[in-house]
Symmetry: C2
Amino acid sequence: MKRPPRLEIPRKAIYRLSIYLRCLLRLKANRLPTVSSEALARAAGVKSTQLRKDLTYFGQFGTRGLGYDVEQLAQLITDLLGTNSLQPVILVGVGNLGTALLSYRGFEQEGFEIIASFDIEPRRGRHSTKPLLPMDQLAAFVHERGVKMAILTVPVTAAQEVTNQLVAAGITGILNFAPIVLQVPEDVIVNNVNLAIELENLSYFIQG
Amino acid sequence: MKRPPRLEIPRKAIYRLSIYLRCLLRLKANRLPTVSSEALARAAGVKSTQLRKDLTYFGQFGTRGLGYDVEQLAQLITDLLGTNSLQPVILVGVGNLGTALLSYRGFEQEGFEIIASFDIEPRRGRHSTKPLLPMDQLAAFVHERGVKMAILTVPVTAAQEVTNQLVAAGITGILNFAPIVLQVPEDVIVNNVNLAIELENLSYFIQG
DNA sequence: AATTGTGAATTGATTCACAGCT
DNA sequence: AGCTGTGAATCAATTCACAATT
């Protein structure tokens, strides 16, 4: 899969690719063979020019006068995102939120599988078929299974230290739920999710 | 609490306010009385000019030559965000993710309380002390308790229909976990969280 | 006739540079 | 001397306008 000038592409454009993909999959399920940028953009909640501009970062995929081939564009975006094959992910920190996410079956549907979880104190609560392992087995496990992505759900006080361990073990993508700005080498990428901040943000806007 | 020209303030600046607040609370816990924009910005992972610019949207709070009073600035941001008092939130859609979030105790610590959950089919699985109610009681409950915010964790196929019900019931802030762009009146605000998209986004950046 | 692809224009956000306080 | 507050300058993202293509 050719993906040329990755550096100048806005981060938000990549997020939108995921949104477009979801819309395309719905269209595909409805047996729609093609879609115009106008229709797809409406479904994704953006302007059609933005959709077209986003796609031009990666090449030309449409047919003028006709639109885009739904299946082909969906496959293209899947290739770009690298979610063709099921990707192994580990989860670190089996507290409240970690347990919650482990019992969430939604990741598998989207191409990700949490293959193991880790905690300093591996507790009684077994979770389905996935092993819950002590932290000292993390490095070996990650190496052996070639895991690249981790979901981080440890308390904020432990987050930076655990991150250091993850990075040392070879993890290059971290989905961080701890409310702290993690320090990582520049080849490691961190996406932050903070549910409390999302609620606070709503709170700000609904006042008045 | 005076909050003047709300319209022109960048959305991202509001998100950053939440981040600053968390840093300030840590400083406060460490008994630091004041902090410079430089130090606070470093903790928050932004440039000091950005922090100062963000604050000027709301007024002038620092002392030149000295910095900001930690406690006072924390209180100010709390006031701005409207999280002084515990805010009631409902959760709709008690499937996998909904159950997961109900068992997550992290919201209370940040000023939000899920006071009830709703589902078309209120199942056996009781969750702690919170009532799990059928959808037809939603409107009355929201009205009676003055609830303004909802966490939406229904399947994507039901998301728009349930959103319509929420809006009709008087909800004005929705934290949406369904992978769909919700149509709402302009006085209703929606924040989207999509864990699969966050993982996909990581996936894109770690390839190579 | 319809619709894409894209350089130019515009809008928005961030950073700079420094004036103004304490 | 140190640090905030902010207009001006820069940088980035979005939208426009239209040429190119089927």
